[in-house]
């Protein structure tokens, strides 16, 4: 990286007409076909902040090739803010990095204007410098964009896990877990933990696992069920599996799954009446 190119980049950024660059930038954005950004004034404010940060960084001698150095931290922060807000608004990755990439043309234009008549090699050097800088910024934007999307996905997964495992107290001494969705090992683990904890807290001696909401039962799911039942039994409580649909019963038998010693019932109502009987309640109906 020649010193003179960096110097002239600094000079250019300092002396340039900011309004002109911003205007060209916004025009470029509009042209590039990416739909109008949140609002032109907001985009313009973001662009202006970014330009200021870049100018400051370049003035302090930061090299575009080493974008991860602390000298660029202010620029990186602004880029992160921009891509986070875009990610939250649901803009695509291309739109987000396109915002930064649209700065390239105005800067190229400025470089061309300033270095008119000078030997071409200097212009090439300058262009290269500007290009590296803008590319690095765009890369950083995409990385942050992806990271914030991943964070959103991770949070949603957690919420889904929590939502899908409520432990309900049906009666004194009887707990129920309605399982909804596919049973994988992480789900089973979570259900097992919260159910066992609840058994300790409430001193319940019977737990009903309702699998009405489980779409399919294969050998793996059956193994998870068996594990849960074994853990419940180890704690000293008993377990009934309910909500076995006819198709699932057929699948279980056809797969040759041995639900050794697990009491199963077709509906939650059957399971509840068995559980009440086991705990020692008797019910009579006064109206016939």
């Amino acid at each position: 990286m020649s010193q003179s190119a960096a110097d002239s980049l600094t000079q250019m950024l300092e002396s340039v007409d900011r309004d002109e660059i911003l205007r060209e930038w916004m025009e470029q954005l509009a042209e590039s076909g990416s739909k109008p950004q949140p609002s032109t004034s907001a985009a313009r404010a973001e662009a202006s902040d970014l330009l200021t940060a870049v100018t400051t960084a370049v003035r302090s001698g930061a090299e575009p090739g080493q974008f991860e150095l602390p000298m660029w931290s202010a620029t990186r922060e602004i880029l992160e803010t921009i891509s986070n807000s875009r990610a939250a608004q649901g803009a695509s990755a291309a739109e987000t990095s396109g915002f930064v990439l649209a700065l390239k043309k105005p800067l190229f234009g400025q470089a061309q204007k300033r270095l008119k008549g000078v030997e071409p090699s200097r212009l090439v050097e300058m262009i290269w410098l500007v290009s590296t800088l803008v590319d690095k910024m765009a890369q950083w934007t995409s990385t942050t964009y992806q990271r914030s999307r991943e964070a959103i996905i991770g949070r949603q997964q957690e919420e889904l896990l929590e939502l899908s495992t409520p432990v309900i107290k049906l009666w004194e001494g009887i707990l129920a877990v309605p399982m909804i969705g596919t049973l994988d090992s992480s789900r089973t683990q979570l259900v097992m933990e919260s159910l066992l904890q609840k058994i300790v807290e409430t001193g319940s001696e019977l737990a009903i696992i309702d699998i009405t909401g489980v779409p399919t039962v294969d050998t793996l799911v059956a193994q998870h069920l068996l594990k849960t039942v074994a853990a419940i039994r180890l704690m000293g409580a008993d377990c009934i599996v309910s909500g076995v649909r006819p198709q699932i019963a057929q699948t279980i038998v056809q797969l040759g799954i041995d639900l050794q010693g697990i009491v199963t019932k077709a509906t939650l109502a059957d399971a509840l009446s068995l559980a009440l009987k086991k705990v020692g309640y008797t019910f009579t109906r006064s109206k016939s």
């Binding site: 097992m192 066992l196 001193g203 594990k227 074994a230 853990a231 704690m235």
Partner: protein, 126 residues
């Protein structure tokens, strides 16, 4: 070596494990308990592991073998108060302790022993 005390309550023996057991402690308990059952003619053994927070496969196997030994000597064993984490660990280790009776707490354990000894009187153990 730490020894785990064995208390006698009528026809039952009561063992409370209050410390995280080492392998030697567990073997000692197995020895002590089998001789105590033989000496007292106890018909029930209650092992309270509510304070046990860490188990390994050895302790898990030891619980199963104590229960089997007691059965051979004519006593029913109930393991009570297992912590959720311990239960999950044992299941993940593949030790479902088939044949070991379990109860949520000491009170229910004693009730279970009482009914089990009544059921099993004069009959081979289940």
């Amino acid at each position: 070596m730490e020894r785990i005390p064995i208390l006698r309550m009528g026809k039952c023996l009561l063992v409370t494990i209050q410390v995280d057991m080492e392998d030697r402690t567990a073997l000692g308990l197995q020895d002590d308990l089998s001789s105590k059952i033989a000496a007292t003619g106890a018909t029930g053994v209650l092992i309270d592991i509510s304070a046990l927070e860490i188990v390994d496969s050895f302790i898990g196997r030891m619980l199963a073998s104590i229960s089997a030994i007691a059965r051979v000597l004519g006593a029913t064993t109930v393991v009570v108060g297992m912590q959720p984490a311990v239960a999950i660990t044992l299941v993940e280790l593949g030790l479902a302790l088939e044949g070991v009776r379990t109860a949520l707490n000491v009170e229910r354990g004693i009730a279970m022993l009482a009914s089990a000894t009544e059921d099993d009187r004069g009959q081979p153990h289940a």
